[in-house]
């Protein structure tokens, strides 16, 4: 039933289109890049975009090809965002299900911890976690993942609590089903959709967080390219060579927009009330 | 006879929906005289409320749209000209009260202010004067300790009191016409009687005309002079209240009356209920919309909508082939 409605949903489709484009670029970048993304070329420093030289997006302060670096940075951004989101989603969802399903003191304890984490600005939390863990690429995944734990805990707990009140769950219990059976047979499948929406929106924020961390020098470490550290490097030269700042930023904006469109479109499919208002 | 205040001619209001155009109000005509209490009766969804929202052009557009007809108020057509001209009639000469008093007052504004607003606008009162008048109105309408309670917010009032507030608001500018859209449906039975009594006495004192929309024939019998029975967006029968109860003509009206529990009929008699359910306005069958539920349906009923047939004294008319010229007449 979802697929038919998804077809009508231009917003979600546009999101899927943008994300597929990036996936295609990653695929291409595995086999071919216009230039070596880490090779310096002192003869062509800060060259403007040009078809003649082959540097379509220009070169940076070390003469490296910006397009190639953006393409290479694509997979880093996606892998880190996916890793962080999955980490946060798995831990957070388990906590949320646990809290919502068992209720009582576990619920209180888990949700208070989540509230405390949640009340902190996500970027600051990620920065502080990076400060404690140290500036390693894999630590970025932890830093962003921790930000997501409370969010997923809240979403899944809320969904479980709503479902628990439903007649079909009461009916399952009254017909003698065990707790585990009800949980996996009735509850978990029904919270998948809100979780998928949350995953999509989280991916968009994860890309922004990763780029901000890298921009501050705490994320992906140079010379390996990431969109954030490219923008960081561009800071000193952006007045002289605006292309060093513009293109990596656009790469971020469109991928983030892609996930936002997908998440927003999916949310529409989920929420019958919103569908009517529209 | 008193002068005619409001004359509605061939009013049509439609809604454009994804299932097609719904004719919520289809070719409705009636008149309202000074001091008259007119009842508009019918099942929910028959177009009563839409008719009355149309009178003040309060239909949400889109999807709604008044597609034809005239609404002559004191000789002036409210459907002609821009909305600004109707706006000054709203709340001033024609006021409305709505079905659900719990949601019809703004939760964030003080009661007194919500009443005073209309006074400031239509009576040109200053803020202070209007607020004082508002408290006075609340007192007149039977709110105990009105001075103090005027500064309360809606959530501090009960449902019955909120409906009184709505009435105070509506009559604040001495309107010529009060439109009451199911004013008692959402209230407890005991409160219902009080509210009806209040409306009745107000109309008597102020020679105010009232259009009472209801699905409850008991309400109609108590306070109305004239009754229009609506079915599927059309007025199927018009009569004075005495005529209607004494001798209902349209099979639908008869069904409605037979489905009222009566003390004098003896408890053994089973209550009648009209078979079937109201039609879907988006896909009306051709001919008379009541035909599928009518026990007197004839061949012609499925082909053509019966015309309005006048019978007896002035307001009395019916739209049914049983009475159309030559075919029926009063038995």
């Amino acid at each position: 039933m979802g697929a038919a409605r998804l077809k009508k949903n231009i917003i979600a489709l546009a999101g899927v289109g943008i994300i597929s484009f990036y996936l295609l670029i990653i695929l291409v970048s595995l086999f071919w890049l216009p230039f070596d993304p880490v090779a310096m070329d002192t003869l062509h420093l800060l060259e403007p975009p040009s078809i003649k030289t082959g540097h379509l997006f220009g070169t940076d302060e070390f003469g490296r090809d910006i397009l190639s670096r953006i393409m290479q940075g694509c997979s880093v951004s996606l892998i880190i965002s996916l890793g962080a989101t999955l980490l946060g989603a798995v831990i957070g969802t388990l906590m949320g299900i646990w809290a919502g399903f068992l209720g009582g003191k576990w619920d209180h304890l888990i949700m208070r911890v989540a509230d405390i984490l949640f009340s902190f600005p996500s970027l600051l939390l990620a920065i502080f976690v990076m400060g404690i863990l140290g500036e390693k690429t894999y630590n970025v995944i932890f830093a962003i993942g921790i930000v997501y734990i409370p969010q997923f805990a809240r979403v899944s707990r809320g969904a479980i609590l709503t479902l628990k009140g439903n007649e079909f769950v009461k009916a399952a219990f009254s017909s003698g089903a065990s707790k585990t059976y009800v949980l996996f047979r009735h509850l978990v499948p029904n919270i998948m959709m809100p979780l998928i929406v949350q995953v999509s929106l989280s991916l968009s924020v994860a890309i922004l967080l990763e780029s901000a961390l890298s921009f501050l020098g705490m994320g992906i470490q140079p010379p390996y390219p990431s969109w954030g550290n490219m923008l960081s490097g561009a800071r000193k030269f952006m007045l002289l060579a605006p292309w060093t700042a513009i293109y990596p930023g656009l790469a971020i904006v469109f991928l983030v927009l892609g996930f936002n469109l997908l998440g927003d479109g999916l949310r529409d499919l989920l929420d019958p009330r919103l569908r009517n208002v529209k | 006879m008193e002068e005619i205040l409001l004359e509605v001619n061939n009013l049509r209001t439609v809604f454009d929906t994804e299932y097609g155009t719904v004719k919520a109000v289809d070719d409705i005509s009636f008149t309202l005289r000074k001091g008259e209490v007119l009842g508009l009766v019918g099942e929910s969804g028959c177009g009563k409320s839409v008719t009355n929202l149309s009178l003040l052009r309060l239909i949400p557009e889109p999807p709604g749209r008044i597609s034809g007809g005239r609404i002559l108020f004191k000789g002036k057509d409210l459907l002609v000209g821009d909305e600004e001209e109707v706006r000054l009639v709203r709340g001033g000469s024609i006021a409305m009260i709505f079905q659900d008093p719990m949601t019809s007052l703004n939760p964030l504004l003080k009661i007194s202010l919500q009443i005073a607003e209309a006074l400031q606008l239509h009576r040109g009162m200053g803020r202070k004067e209007a607020l004082a008048k508002a408290a006075e109105l609340l007192k007149a309408i039977g709110i105990p300790d009105a001075e103090a309670r005027a500064n309360d917010y809606p959530h501090q009032f009960s449902g019955g009191m909120r409906q009184r507030v709505m009435i105070a608001m509506a009559i604040s500018c001495n309107p010529d016409i009060l439109i009451a859209d199911e004013p008692t449906t959402a209230l407890d039975v005991t409160i219902q009687a009080q509210i009806l009594e209040l409306i009745k006495s107000l109309s008597g004192e102020n020679t105010m005309s009232v259009i009472m929309i209801t699905h409850d024939l008991g309400v109609v019998a108590g306070i109305c002079d004239t009754i229009c029975v609506m079915y599927a967006g059309k007025i199927v029968e018009k009569a004075s209240v005495d005529d209607l109860f004494a001798q209902p003509l349209h099979p639908y009206t008869k069904g409605l009356l037979d489905s009222i529990p009566r003390i004098d009929a003896g408890s053994r008699k089973r209550l009648y209920s009209i078979p079937g359910s109201p039609p879907n306005l988006a896909s009306l069958p051709p001919g008379c919309p009541f035909r599928p539920r009518c026990d007197k349906a004839m061949e012609i009923c499925g082909r053509e909508m019966p015309p309005e047939t006048s019978l007896g004294d002035a307001p009395r008319s019916v739209r049914c082939w049983l009475y159309a010229s030559g075919e029926g007449g009063l038995e």
Binding site: F128, A212, L257, V277 | Q156
Partner: protein, 282 residues
Amino acid sequence: MGTQVEATPEQMEELKRLFGEDKPIPVLYIEWLGRVVQGDFGFSLRTSRPILPDILQRLPLSIEITLFALVLALALGIPLGIAAALKQNPLTDIVIRITGLLGLSLPQFWLASLMVIAFSGVQGWIPMGNYISFAADPIKNLKMLFFPSLAIGTGLAAVIMRYTRNSMLEVMQQDYVRTAKAKGLKKRVVVIRHALRNAILPVITVAGFNTGYLLGGAIVIEEVFALPGMGRLALYAIYQRDYPVIQGIVLLIAAMFVLVNLVTDLIYAAVDPRIRLDEGGR
């Protein structure tokens, strides 16, 4: 990062005693809290200066940027949201939606960079190491903080625009709005006095909730525009592993959060009589 020379075990012991770290962590933590309550946040490991005065000196600028960004977000988001609700049709709906999502997709620091590129030639608008405080010259100060605040506030403006629009559309269908229209009020009065006041309630919650997000943004933006706020202090403390400073900043931010939540609740109560405590609403 930085120069790191290995210390001998004896030196380590000496250092630990000096910093009072020879006790178990919970004890240390409680001792630290005890001092914090008295206004003693301790000393920076790098500069040996007392921490609290340093933070307090930089805090006002970060708060100013955050509030300025909040004001800009509200000033942009609410009118656009109302306009979108009043001019509702399939085309504006989709434009508003995509604009809103685009606003959410812009990295604040990149937006800031674009502003620097675009406006660096215009005198006095882009601060570059020549920060002028509000006390010294309010106009120059606000001019200087406009773009940094805008860069932070744009995302929230997009969020507020969508919330305002959806909330307005819902409120415009309420019975009390119909009552207001039936009273004969001008459309402007119906929208502003009756609809907007109700529609703004969820927007207040969202704005309050996102003030922390603005504060997080302020830290990065201060870096881009070289503004001497708390964000830069925090970043350098993290770069240099200056833990007492980090601890102090975390504590202050948490305190500000509590404050923001309190203010949000107070504003909410001021607008909505139903939740005023003294009247014990239903």
